[in-house]
């Protein structure tokens, strides 16, 4: 395989995984020699070493992509704004669905709202308002529920204490749109 192609694949793999990846694993995935991957990594590291916002870290036989340390302050600003911004309308809707219908899968939240909510769920998890638990009936998906901390903050000792929980959580309009 050409070195340019190997470099490109290394970039893609490091980008999506975000974690340290073994060079031997990349060699296996691309069907090339470890030495070729080593070589491409070295070239790539050199390219990423010139005032870039992303760096490639190598530790023993593993490599990883990370943000450049000189931008760490900006990144904490980004994270802060992500968490401190007012909750969007979408976020409030998703929260209330999870409150009355949780634990619930993402697919079912989306069926109820009629809109995809990947980004919203991620934001709410980051703010610690939700918890994600394994779905016992499908190991590829998760169930979402209101976090213990958030319940405590709201002064609820259980979610059933929400106003009109009994009737609202059993509303038939929802049964019509979700997969049971």
């Amino acid at each position: 395989m050409e070195i340019e192609k190997i470099k490109s694949i290394i970039e893609s793999i490091l980008f999506v995984s975000g974690e340290p990846v073994k060079i031997s694993r990349i060699a296996k995935i691309t069907g090339t020699e470890i030495s070729e991957v080593e070589n491409a990594t070295m070239v790539l590291q050199g390219e990423y070493n010139t005032n870039r916002g992303i760096i490639i870290i190598k530790k023993e036989d593993q490599i990883q992509m990370a943000t450049a340390p000189e931008n760490s302050e900006i990144i904490s600003e980004l994270v802060k704004s992500e968490i401190q911004e007012n909750l969007s309308k979408a976020a409030l809707e998703v929260l209330s669905i999870i409150a009355y219908r949780g634990p619930i899968t993402r697919i079912n939240i989306e069926a109820i709202r009629g809109v995809n909510c990947t980004f919203t769920l991620r934001n709410l998890l980051m703010r610690g308002l939700l918890e994600k638990v394994d779905n016992p009936s499908d190991n590829r998906s998760y169930l979402y529920k209101i976090s213990f901390d958030f319940l405590k903050k709201l002064g609820l000792d259980s979610i059933e204490k929400l106003p009109d929980f009994e009737t609202l959580s059993k509303d038939t309009r929802i049964e019509n749109v979700i997969e049971s």
Partner: protein, 234 residues
């Protein structure tokens, strides 16, 4: 006759386009008049048109009838509104053709599976408990109620359409019975009881169908005069 199953069509435009392209025609008023009867045959024969789409198929049918009758009777004068409807249909079909072709191209691109993948957002960032200020349990209730009210009532919708739309078959039977009773009748008394446009259209289609099957005879003494129907003596 060329047989196409209507259920494979996405809508009236799709069916119309296929009929025209099968005849290798350009999208013009003349072409539309040439495929009008075939279009009517399809929606008549096909019981599998999605009920929620039947009204859409019939609305195009009514415009095709206008076009067809003008092709047959060139001296017919149309109102401005009717002229516009005819023109709109050719334009709409031309527009639809472009997007139909584009959608096939997009489908091919999607099939080639050259997908870009993104990272999970903020995957490396630990969550921090940051609850919203001035938020209480009643906000949950308020937003949940708003969502419940936005859920579309899917089943109810299709049930309503089922009860509203009368099939062509039913209408033909009704017309036949009506004629037997009255021997001679006219189109206006037939549609007197109709409550909406779709039903009038269906009646008209049914009438055309019966003429074709030589079940009835029609007579129109003058333009815009009522159409007189009578059972044919066998």
């Amino acid at each position: 006759m060329y047989n196409v199953k209507t259920d494979k069509f996405e809508g009236p435009m799709d069916l119309l386009l296929e009929l025209i392209q099968k005849e290798k025609l350009e999208i013009t008023e003349l072409s539309l008049s040439r495929v009008a009867s075939e279009y009517l045959d399809h929606i008549k024969d096909n019981q599998s048109i999605n009920l929620e789409h039947l009204a859409d198929f019939l609305s195009v049918a009514s415009r095709l009838i206008l076009i067809k009758s003008r092709a047959l009777l060139p001296m017919l004068k149309f109102s401005e509104e009717e002229e516009a409807e005819i023109k709109d249909l050719t334009k709409q079909l031309e527009e639809y053709r472009k997007f139909k072709e584009a959608s096939i191209k997009l489908g091919k691109i999607a099939e080639s599976r050259k997908i870009c993948y993104s990272r999970e957002g903020f995957s490396a960032v630990k969550s921090i408990f940051y609850p919203p200020e001035d938020f209480n349990v009643y906000d949950f209730k308020k937003h949940f109620l708003a969502i419940l009210n936005e859920i579309p009532i899917i089943e109810k919708l299709s049930e309503e359409i089922v009860s509203e739309v009368v099939t062509l078959e039913e209408k033909i039977n009704e017309l036949e019975n009506f004629l037997r009773n009255k021997i001679q009748t006219s189109f206006s008394s037939l549609v007197e009881k109709s409550t909406d446009k779709v039903e009038v259209i269906v009646s008209f289609l049914a009438m055309l169908e019966m003429i074709k099957q030589r079940l009835i005879e029609v007579e129109q003494t003058d333009l815009f005069e009522d159409i007189k129907l009578s059972l044919k003596n066998n």
